[in-house]
Symmetry: C2
Subunit: 409 residues, 2 copies
């Protein structure tokens, strides 16, 4: 069950002027579930995104990148769940374009003004006919207050839909930001390792929009791992419709840009953490803080060694303070000149290790107390510099194996 | 249960002249089990080894490295299971030296002529008194034909003891090689990620001995992974007693050296594969061959991405040919200029993917047939160079989680 993750309520999700959402049941993988989402954008809306770095990136990722590069603007995003259209070769590329063309026909725009996204099983042909047949229903039911249904329509093994809204007042104008995401397994940077869509009614210049989505991804989706597997399809898209009563934001160092960036990153961090809280089989939410490193990179390197270790993750599942496994992970993280005698390891407020071994003050019952919690912070203080990194992960349970041993059935 | 791994039989394990083995029950972690091993070496025996690269390497690893560097020769190896003496700081160093001193007193040699090794739980104090109390019994019961009991005495979560003997005729003289190893979880290079001891009665010059143990480790223990966790305590030791009727082998390019290296590597590969076959919770033994790469490094990089992926490993556990997960792992392995359209993926003899997607000839029932086997080969043909790498791993089952969620209890 998701760890301390409250399902979103429709009434808390605010429409973003200029964005309409239509949902359909297209029977892509199984019947009677929402599996198709169309996000239509107003004229003049801008879109920027970051995509998976997996070399086997999916056909829709390649096509979405192409379409983003054309100058006519994006009119709609098309998302299906149930099939990833990844590892599908030339046929997959053609299938992705065919679905874009089908939606473009319904909306009266060009094929390359549609961005396609797919999530689900890899290396199976995209059921193009089912998607095309489902599109009219999605387009007919387009509504501005459809964000919860949209979040539900992109789920795969997710248990809880992920969605959040935020409003921020900038220069007297109210700006709305609403985001949705999906993801539960195959979660590891880079980059976004899931699908995420964040829309705001602010007007943001295109280069700044791209910088903002990269920054938001780096602070959120690039800081999580469930299983260390980087998906073929991940994408985080940032949409700015320009409908709010705020002049276009252009300069990265303006107060408006900073406030917007902070709010957008906050939405992205909420969604990224929600993905970990709903990680496949998760029973614990674990924050890994690595402090006092020579660089952010080495902090992340150590953090990920801990966050990815099956031995650490199974110990947390068992609430067993077998914390030497964390030391082992720090040791093999690959930081060649690390002085293990200089670092300190904390579990929440409990000092576990220092001087290369167990802290004299450490008592098993203190470790046990923290391990019983559902939200736990592992803190490693390296004592060799001023850089920090914070990552989020979950534990490793029987249910992770169960979910992934039966994913296709 | 171990995958196609026959337990060794005492009669098949050949004594190595110059090596005596004593075993005791020292109650280190629990009563009524062999948990202490002393390997006494004849005068003039030479020892070389490779050790874990984990920065949090255990106290016995540090002490063994120190003792190996002194010129007086090694007279005995002391191995305990049940406690790793890792993450134990200065106390751990002193504890390791104390156990060496205790054994040196019994054998009448210097403390630094003993090599200590420990395996078991991390970050708990070594029960020095129990080990010291157990040593006299081990020394009293020293025998040359004790290899099976020795293999059993170093087990932790291993189900089956790992041991093998081999004889090879070189220049008319019969040379014997016998090796034992332990390891089941926390298995990932570098380096040896377990304890392994290989002894031969050949006489081998010290620099060549070191080269031979490194080469054997690179072809065996550095090619396996169970869970991607690199242990703090791993060591592979090669002992040459010089009791065989063969002149000292000195030149690496001599025929004798090549024959010896081949036989030693063969023993090491058997032991390394045995560790994977007995991997925690393993139900499948998986060989990953990556061929046609630009370098062995990039082949290993791709091989390990596959071999470490929890999604790939759970699919094998389920016998589910969800083989797109292998493509995803290849894609995120980090080979930046990889052309995914140029590679081919095989499962045993079945061509699964080519041209960036599922092969036209692939049929689900063929994949299903191979997935049902207990020994499976994943073959990736990159088509960009002449380098190859072969790795061995196992699947990921409920029992892995079970074993590691309850390891200390």
């Amino acid at each position: 069950m998701p760890v301390n993750l409250t399902p979103p309520v429709a009434a808390q999700l605010l429409p973003v002027a200029g964005v309409s959402l239509g949902i359909a049941e297209a029977n892509i993988k199984r019947p009677d579930r929402k599996d198709l989402l169309v996000m239509q954008l107003c004229d003049g809306a801008r879109v920027a995104g970051v995509f998976t770095k997996n070399r086997f990136c999916a056909a829709p990722v390649i096509v979405a990148r192409e379409h983003l590069a054309q100058p006519d603007g994006i009119r709609a995003l098309l998302v299906n769940t149930g099939n990833a259209n990844a590892g599908t070769g030339e046929q997959g590329m053609s299938d992705a374009r065919t679905t874009c063309a089908a939606l473009a026909g319904l909306l009266g725009c060009k094929t390359n003004q549609i961005l396609p996204f797919s999530t689900g099983v890899i290396m199976e042909p995209l059921p193009v006919a089912k998607i095309a047949a489902g599109l009219p229903a999605a387009v007919t039911n387009m509504r501005a207050d459809n964000w919860l249904a949209a979040a539900q329509a992109i789920m795969t093994t997710d248990i809880v839909a992920k969605a959040i809204s935020k409003q921020v007042k900038i220069d007297g104008a109210t700006v709305t930001i609403t985001g949705i995401a999906k993801g539960s397994g195959m979660i590891h940077p880079n980059m976004a390792t899931m699908l995420g869509y964040i829309a705001t009614d602010a007007a943001i210049a295109q280069p700044l929009l791209q910088a903002m989505v990269s920054e938001a991804a780096n602070r959120s989706f690039n800081c999580i791992t469930v299983d260390g597997d980087t998906s073929t399809n991940d994408a985080l898209m940032l949409i700015a419709t320009g409908k709010a009563a705020l002049p276009e934001v252009k300069a990265a160092d303006s107060q408006a840009a900073k406030m917007l960036q902070a709010a957008i990153s906050e939405v992205a961090i909420y969604l990224a953490q929600a993905i970990v809280r709903d990680g496949e089989g998760a029973t614990k939410f674990i924050t890994v803080c690595v402090e006092g490193g020579n660089s952010e990179d080495e902090c992340k390197q150590i953090g990920y060694a801990i966050a990815r270790s099956p031995l650490v993750k199974t110990a947390f599942f068992a609430s067993d303070p077998n914390l030497g496994r964390i030391l082992a992970a720090i040791g093999y993280a690959g930081v060649a000149d690390l002085d293990v005698a200089a670092l300190r390891l904390y579990l929440d407020d409990v000092l576990v290790a220092e001087n290369g071994g167990r802290a004299a003050s450490y008592r098993e019952e203190d470790g046990q107390r923290v391990m019983q919690q559902s939200d736990i912070t592992i803190r490693v203080v390296l004592g060799r510099g001023a850089a920090n990194a914070t990552l989020w992960t979950c534990d490793f349970s029987y249910d992770y194996v169960k979910i992934n041993a039966s994913y296709r059935s």
